[in-house]
Every structure is written in C-alpha cells, then in structure tokens.
C-alpha cells in the first residue's frame, strides 16, 4: 500500500529526514516512535505535502506518487494525516467544512457529491464513534476546542473521509485517559483489511489501546530499528538511550540491541 524509499526532507538546507524507508501493507497498523526532534512530525508533513521542505526520495500510495501531488490530491488518493496541533479556523463551520472536504474528495475521485441530508447521516455516525455531541458540528473548526476535542475532531474527520492510510501524529498527546480510550476505540473501529494506520507517538501509552503490528524507531531522520509491539515495551523501560547515545550518522548499519524479535 505505502512504499517510502530513501525519503529525505530538509528545511532551508538543514536535513531532518535522512533517508527514511518504510513499507506499510494493507490493513496493517504501524507505530513510529522516537525522541523529540527525530523527525516524526516532519515525516507526517512530508507525506501530507506541507510547503517549505526540500523533499527527496519516493513515497507511493497504491502505486501513485504522493510526492508529486498537491496536498488536496494526496487526500483524494486516500491519505489522511491527523495533526499534532490541529489549526483553529474561526468562522468556518465544522459541519460545512466536513462536507466540503468529503465532497472535494468525492469530486476528485469522479464520484457524485453528497447532499446536505445524506451527509448529516454520515456525520452522525462519525460523531457517535468519537462520542461527540451534535453542537460540535455547529461550532467553528477547532476554534476554542480543548486539546481533547481537537484530537477527537481529527478522528471525526478520518471517520468521514474513510482514508486508505491514516497517519496519526501524536494523537495521544495531551489527552486524559477517558479521551484516549474514546480515540483508540474510534481508530480501532475504523480499522479493517483495506485501511492501514501509522501512529506516530512519543509514548507507549497509546499502543496499549491500539495494538501495532509493527513498531519502528525513528532517530535523527531515519528508522534505526523495527520490530513487533514488544519493541515499544522495551522503549518504555529503557527509553531511546540505546539509539541516541551514539553518532548514528556514522554507523547506519549498527546492530540493534534490545528486544527485537
């Protein structure tokens, strides 16, 4: 489904991603973990198509070259990125925004647009999933939302857009345990053989609720270790010290220590 090869990203000449390789198959759940500043969010933005990066390498989703596309075309191709800091957009109604997004994606795929009444049913179903009240839809996008509400709104959008691949960047940060459970339940119920998820997270906590098939460790712009969910448990106990106390640039082929199966 997703094939990322030798992905590089730099800002104003400063390299952040330094040759990232990742393959995600249909229906798989991957977790990317790493210390602050390792390039986790940059990876999400590089996939989403944010301006301001010099990008190299390739990233294809179902064979389509993502890196060549505008952000809106990537969404139409089936990519969804849930952001760590969703933007507040005062004056733009949440419901209107969701419908505009869904219809834009449908239009781009040559499907018919969905009317206001039918959309309400879609939205209601998505709202139940993340346990949101109806007045949520009548507010401005993220404006004045609490941290937890913003994250739930991200999952709500994912539920409406039904992407092929969801990349969730620090979706667990700033959440209390109740909100975390709601979000995890939402993500889990959206899972399936045709939908893949990449969770980017600093902590192992989220992975108690959404069990990953694969865990990758991202350090200094490239993936330095991969394994199953036990790798996350190891990181929880030992931190990233095994991976960051050395000059990894000089020893890219360094043998992995720890609980790698």
């Amino acid at each position: 489904m997703l094939h990322v090869k030798n992905l590089t990203a730099s800002i104003e000449g400063t390299p952040i991603l330094k040759g990232l390789d990742l393959t995600v198959g249909a229906g798989e759940v991957h977790a990317i973990m790493g210390p602050n500043g390792s390039g986790k969010s940059t990876f999400a933005h590089a996939l989403a198509g944010r301006d301001g990066y010099e990008i190299g390498g390739t990233a294809t989703l179902d064979g389509a070259d993502l890196l060549d596309m505008k952000p809106e075309a990537r969404a139409a191709a089936g990519l969804f990125v849930g952001f760590q800091y969703p933007v507040e957009i005062p004056g733009v109604n949440n419901m209107y925004f969701l419908r505009a997004a869904l219809n834009s994606v449908r239009r781009a795929r040559g499907e018919t647009e969905i009317g206001a009444r039918d959309f309400l049913a879609v939205a209601k179903e998505a709202m139940d999933l993340v346990e949101m009240k109806e007045d949520f839809l009548n507010r401005s996008v993220n404006a004045g939302f609490s941290g937890g509400e913003k994250k739930r709104n991200e999952i709500l959008q994912m539920a409406v857009l039904k992407p092929r691949l969801a990349v969730l960047d620090e979706t667990d940060s700033g959440l209390d345990i109740d909100a975390l459970q709601i979000i995890a339940a939402g993500v889990n119920s959206l899972g399936g053989p045709e939908r893949s998820v990449i969770m980017i997270t600093h902590y192992q906590r989220l992975l108690d609720y959404i069990k990953p098939d694969f865990v990758h460790v991202l350090v200094d712009g490239s993936i330095v270790a991969s394994g199953d969910h036990t790798l996350a448990l190891h990181l929880e106990d030992h931190g990233y010290a095994d991976y960051v106390n050395h000059d990894l640039d000089d020893v890219p082929g360094r043998a992995l220590s720890g609980a790698v199966s």
Binding site: D51, E72, F80, P86, I89, A100, A101, S104, V105
Partner: protein, 421 residues
C-alpha cells in the same frame, strides 16, 4: 503650497437657489483627515443639480439588471431613482398600525416643520460640501415615522438607484427616520446603480430615536464600479434608545459610509458593525464618530475589512466622550484581511475623553490568510481556491451573522461569493 479645490460644474447649478451656502462650505481636500484617501479628482467630476422626474427613465436592460440586484424583502418599499421617488417601483400598500411612510417631497410640501432635524442645520454643523449639496438637492427620498409604543415586525426597505445621465451624473437622496418612545423598527437601505457610465449617489440619512426606541439599520452598498457612493448617516439617540447599524460597503469605485452618532440621553446604546470587501482598485471608506454626551451610554464599533488586488480600505473611527458623560463604556475594533501585496488599509482610532469613570477600548489588526489553515483544509481534500474562499468567508462571517434577516444574509453571502471569484 497650493491646493486644488475641486469645483462643481456651475452650468448645472446656476438655476438652484441657495448654492451660496454650498459654496460657503469648503470642498474637502486631502488635507482633511476625513477625506485623506478619497479620490478628489473623481469627486470633482460628479455633476449635481436639482432632480427632475425625467431622470427616472432607464432602458429595459438597465431596469432588469437593477431589479435583479435588489434583495427580496417583504414589506413596505420605497424606490428612489436618480433622487426622485419612483412610485411604480415602490410599494406602500401594507404599512400597518403605527407606521407612516411618505416621500420626502410630499413631506416637504405637507409638513415641512417635521423635517427640521434634517434640513435646519446651522452652517457650522454641516461637515462638508457634499452634505451641503445633499441638503440642497436631496429634496426627495423617504420619511419614516414609527408611533410611540409600536414594534414593527417587517423591515422597511429603501432602495436608492443611480443611472447616470450625460449632463447630470450624480444624485442626492434624503432619508428621515423617527422612532417614537418605546417603538422598534428595522430599516434596510440598499444603494445600487445601473449602466457603466461615471456617476454617483450622495445619500443622507438622519435618524432620531426617542426614549427607549430601538432601530436596526442596515446599509447594503453595491454600486457599479464606474460609480461613486457617498453616504452620511446622522443619528441622535435619546435616553435608553438602541441603534444597531450593519453596513456592507461592497461596491463603487469609491464607497464612503459615514456615521455620526450623538448619544444625547442617558443609557443609550449604539452598536455599529460593518464589512468592506474591496477588489480591483476600489477605495472603501468608513468614517465613524460616536459622541458620548450623556451618562452611562455604551457604544460598540466592530468593523472588518477584506482587501484584494489593489484596493484600499479606510477605517477612521472616533470615540468622543464629552465632559460629564461619566460611566461611558466604549469599544472599537477594526480587523483587516489583506489578500494581495498591493492592497492596503488605513486604520485610525480617534479618542477624545473628557469625562471620568470611562471604560474605553480600541484595537486594530491587519493580517493575511493563515497559511497553516490553508494547508490544513487542503490536507482534507479541499482544493486551494476553495480553501481560500472558505477562509475569506470565515473572516466575513462575523459581520454577516450580525444581520438577523435571513434574506439579507443570503444576499450578502451571494455577493461575497461573486467578489471572491
């Protein structure tokens, strides 16, 4: 240094009596703070004169075009074409209890004494020559009176239309609104034009609100880009009265809306909000002065501007707290969105506070479309152009939602949609 003073074409004025009064009041120049950004050369090309009924004729095309521009509102309607009431296009059949609406021309004939608030001003109180011209030539329009205690459910619509002629391209219209004690009403003034010739309209509205009266007053300015619009709205509020003004300054090459609100009675409240949206090389000018002359009055000025291409926005907002007007609570805000590097906005607060125990706040912002928000919308599949439109609409939304009448909100949203490609 010499200053060129625009002069009006004497040929079109010679027959009018009282022009000495107009001439006695100086034409504004760039040196006048209130006219600093105005296109003086264009203003000098406006040819004013006494209105004639023949001015009402217009071609079928222009008439059709104009009919399509008018918002669909139920209720009484007065249509003024080139400064003369057009009875065929007006509808005053269902006025209901407590409301009287007449043409200004009729009122001048029948009860001129009721129009003192509109015409009987000393030269010192006339702010500029364009107001003086209006007082001279604005002899028709609408006079609205709401009797004590009556609360009117349907809005009263005044439509002012200019179709410039060859010899006289500018018209003057007068509107007089008086609300009796404890009454309430909504008045909508739509200012539009026809044809693509140079010209303009000069409208003047004088409003008196008696004790505890409430007026909602909405101005929709959507003149053709070949025309100029000048509007002066002068309001006197007595004790406990409420004035809610909503202006949408959208059309004309130069669109100017001036509010002068005089809070004469205690506990009066005035709430002025406006939106201006400039494209091309439009200049959209809001000149606001609120005078607090009595104790415990409140005032709000909330104006938003969106400026694209090479357009210019002006907000000149004054709060003037007179001695003794203790307990004044006044706020002013002006937020602007610049969509182009060549667009500009000039915002200036003027505060003069001569009383005690005054709460006075003002703030202005100038910003651009939020790149982060654009990116966010695009990652959800919304194409860049549409994302831009969504954000612009979002910015305008606060002003649009200050209007209670749905038909007007629809009209405004449609109009903003056109401006916004």
């Amino acid at each position: 240094m010499t200053v060129t003073t625009p002069t009006i074409e004497k040929a079109n004025l010679s027959s009018a009596p009282g022009l000495d009064r107009v001439d006695a009041i100086n034409y504004p120049t760039k040196r006048d703070e209130a006219w600093r950004y105005s296109p003086h050369r264009e203003l000098a090309r406006l040819l004013f004169g006494p209105a004639t009924t023949s001015a009402r004729s217009m071609s079928a095309d222009v008439a059709k075009d104009i009919a399509e521009q008018i918002p669909a509102l139920d209720g009484p309607r007065i249509v003024v074409v080139n400064g003369v009431v057009d009875e065929a296009r007006s509808d005053l059949t269902h006025l209901g209890d407590g409301l009287s609406v007449s043409t200004l021309a009729d009122a001048l004939k029948d009860q001129p004494e009721q129009l003192d608030s509109h015409f009987a001003q000393s030269a010192d109180d006339i702010p500029d020559a364009f107001v003086a011209l209006n007082m001279e030539f604005g002899r028709d329009g609408a006079v609205i009176h709401v009797a004590k205690g009556h609360e009117l459910a349907t809005p009263i619509h005044i439509v002012d239309i200019v179709v410039p002629g060859e010899t006289q391209n500018a018209s003057c219209t007068g509107v007089v609104i008086h609300l009796g004690e404890d009454s309430s009403a909504t008045v909508v003034e739509t200012r539009i034009g026809g044809g693509n010739q140079f010209g303009g309209s000069n409208t003047r509205t004088t409003i008196t609100l008696d004790d505890n009266a409430t007026l909602d007053h909405i101005v929709l300015q959507d003149m053709p880009s070949s025309q100029i619009h000048l509007s002066s709205i002068e309001v006197t509020q007595k004790e406990g009265s409420v004035f809610r003004a909503r202006s949408f300054n959208l059309g004309a090459s130069y669109g100017r809306i001036a509010y002068d609100v005089y809070l004469a009675g205690e506990r009066a409240h005035t709430d002025l909000s406006g939106l201006y949206f400039g494209t091309g090389d439009q200049i959209l000018d809001q000149q606001v002065t609120v005078i607090h002359a009595a104790k415990n009055c409140t005032s709000r000025q909330t104006f938003r501007g969106i400026l694209d291409d090479e357009s210019t926005g002006v907000f000149n907002g004054g709060i003037d707290v007179r001695p003794g007007a203790d307990g004044t609570d006044a706020e002013q805000s002006n937020d602007n969105l610049l969509l182009s590097k060549r667009a500009e906005v000039n915002t200036q607060p003027r505060l003069e506070i001569l009383a005690d125990d005054v709460a006075c706040k003002h703030g202005a912002t100038v910003g651009q479309l939020d790149d982060e928000a654009l990116y966010y919308l695009r990652t959800r599949g919304i194409p860049a152009d549409e994302a831009r439109r969504l954000l612009i609409r979002g910015f305008a939304d606060q002003a649009v939602h200050a209007v209670d009448i749905e038909a007007l909100r629809t009209w405004i949203t449609d109009r903003l949609g056109h401006a916004n490609g």
